[in-house]
Symmetry: C2
């Protein structure tokens, strides 16, 4: 299936990406507006998350109930989420309904009601969601680790804090969100059974007169870094480690992705073999690449019984370091196969295609073809991977532990 | 996209289901063998879960490392899981690799090593996974609720107990699993870019001489039922309720599915409107249909701050009961659209198609066409839904609460 990706940039800065897939029955729509949590004003952390709830509480002529009814009547499965740079609106539907859904999204994007009386219920939901993180230590440890690892405010947790949520007012959140909600920096992707010229015309008709305004800038501050133990009477000790990596525009990018796969890319990967299979130390252990536009990292998680937490950490850190000492040709080959096959298989889903296009455009201002990705992965040599690992030595760790007893994370500092 | 589903039953009882999808690049393979947790001998609960780990620890000529390497080299993303009746082997790969993957699965299914020395690491992993449930109260409350709701051993938690895992031996688990591992009752589904005659021939060649033996029977005992409060110092109070529903062979089946959608099928559904949108009581609340072959239920979950747990429960139970009092025509229409559109959209994924075929065959001994499902949903009237709700009144609840304070669940008993 050759990929044919259409790109249209409208006069107001709005970017539309389209990928026709003739032989599916659905269409995925993704709209990313650059008013995400990293833009939340200081003291109003969580504003974008509240906004993502609030935004669907009535639009145009429809109140909340009527808008929900209209979307559900079209069989539209929609999700709104705040994360990093964006509030993301995602909608999946059978292709016959796309036109009607786009009409509704015109109102949602350009004429949200954001009524005062809907604000408190939305804020309450985010307070609840924030609270539930305390009952998910495996998730919380990663949230805390990202907060320490990324420069402020890039690693900010999107739900804010109990204090910031309590302090914010409907007026302040509305002013902030509407002040940043703009077509410049907004990326829309449509993947599935579409007629591209028709989709382009519809989007132009609905969103072409969205008034342009300059996209907001972000000042970043140095990361907190360091190590933290959160004492909690959990059944497992949850360990999270982060270390610097390269962004998608970096020459080392594909080498970094291949290296992560050698470490954690399948059942034959080093972490699975050494931590899970040989020693049976933990059920879940993984290292994943996580990138933003300006910085990126490798994020490692493991959950172990408290009495095996230290051994687990030693083995994991040992493997992170050993990677730089050499890689076997068959490990490289398997890692490349894994990476390419994951990419190829994700193409069978409209939602993955839409997300892939939006991500690529955000990071690169263009969309890579599958041939380009495949060729770039194929070209990586062991020397490329080792050169990357030389430049980004394991050792500059940030770490968080949640569990009943501390684990001496700092021992493993460079 | 018309669905063309091939069914082949081999002499040894093995059933193969195939669905060609010409315009995708991947193939999903699902193999379900009837040796799941419900067959675990008393005192050996968790044997199937340990088995699902153990089964990939070497097969035929390959030891664990060689088998993992071989699968990873083919870009095969595989998962093994134990649940209810089955151990399920799932594998996704680009279509060019299917032949090689099937060759490996011949060894995995018919010549697993199940070596003594691999047993303890596998058991340790399941012990770890079981332990981690204590750090996931939102999941645990549903596990406990299903255990009380279904007749024994159908609601059994697949990971067993600390005691049963500790007590089991490699010999006993191997004898049990190999004694039940048989082609009769095993269902294989292949969906994606396939040449059906070739896939059928390959499966026949690899698995046609798998010796037949009668499938094991299960004696069920009455469910525990009732209510339970697990005191735990969680941030939220986690509530789970279950009530009886109908299986897929029942005349009320589609009415039951539509009714659940009215209650919990989209943002305009009653639970979302009453609990989440109007009152902002909880971030997560849902009712889902969950069926086994011989029994089924509706399973409701909500997570609320402890001081709002009682109000949340009252509103949720109120909505479960109010459903039987009447449904509006537009609610019915939206619920039917939701159900049909979710079904249609899932068809774009090879993995969903394979899972759908296997489920249908397990429940019905045939695979429904999409036209059949769509027509059955379309035919449901308000009277059909009310007749179902009359026969299965909300009130016969089973319930579990995890949280710092008890919530008087029993108040809501019929």
């Amino acid at each position: 299936m050759p990929d044919l990706i259409h790109i249209e940039r409208f006069d107001n800065g709005l970017v539309l990406l389209g990928e026709p897939m003739d032989h599916v029955s659905s269409v995925s729509l993704t709209v990313r507006v650059p008013v995400g949590p990293i833009y939340d004003p200081s003291g109003m952390e969580g504003a974008a998350a509240v906004g993502a709830e609030w935004w669907l509480r009535g639009a145009g002529d429809r109140d909340t109930r009527q808008l929900n009814d209209a979307l559900d009547s079209l069989g539209c499965r929609h999700v709104e989420a705040a994360g990093a740079n964006f509030i993301t609106f995602s909608a999946g539907q059978v292709h016959q309904r796309l036109d009607d859904v786009l009409r509704l999204y015109h109102d949602i994007l350009l004429a949200p009601r954001l009524d005062d009386e809907a604000f408190d219920p939305c804020r309450n939901l985010i307070v609840q969601d924030l609270l539930s993180l305390d009952d998910h230590p495996a998730q919380k440890v990663n949230v805390l680790c990202r907060q320490r690892f990324f420069p402020h405010p890039l690693g900010r947790y999107h739900l804010g804090t109990a204090e910031s949520l309590e302090a914010m007012t409907a007026d302040a959140v509305r002013d902030h969100l509407l002040g940043h909600f703009c077509p410049d920096g907004t990326i829309i992707a449509v993947a599935g059974k579409i007629d591209w010229p028709q989709v382009r015309d519809r989007i132009e008709q609905h969103l072409g007169d969205w008034p342009a305004r300059p996209q907001a800038e972000i000042d970043t501050q140095p990361a907190t870094g360091g190590f933290e133990h959160v004492r909690k009477d959990t059944a497992q000790t949850h360990l999270a480690l982060a270390q610097p990596s390269v962004t998608m525009t970096d020459g080392h990018y594909y080498a970094a992705r291949v290296a992560v796969c050698v470490l954690s890319g399948g059942m034959s990967s080093r972490l699975m073999t050494e931590v899970r299979e040989k020693r049976g130390l933990v059920y879940r252990v993984s290292t994943a690449y996580g990138g933003l536009k300006s910085c990126a990292g490798w994020f490692t998680y493991a959950g172990a019984v408290p009495e095996k937490a230290r051994e687990t950490l030693e083995v994991v850190v040992g493997e992170l370091r050993r990677l730089g000492e050499g890689i076997e040709p068959d490990e490289l080959a398997r890692a490349k196969t894994q990476l390419k096959s994951a990419t190829l298989m994700s193409l069978d889903m409209t939602g993955s295609r839409a997300a892939r296009m939006v991500n690529d455009f955000h990071y690169l201002e263009r969309v890579r073809t599958i041939d380009e990705i495949t060729a770039a992965v194929d070209a990586i040599t062991i020397d490329d991977v080792l050169a990357y690992l030389q430049a980004y030595r394991a050792g500059d760790f940030v770490g968080v532990v949640i569990g009943p007893e501390p684990v001496p994370l700092a021992v493993f500092e460079a």
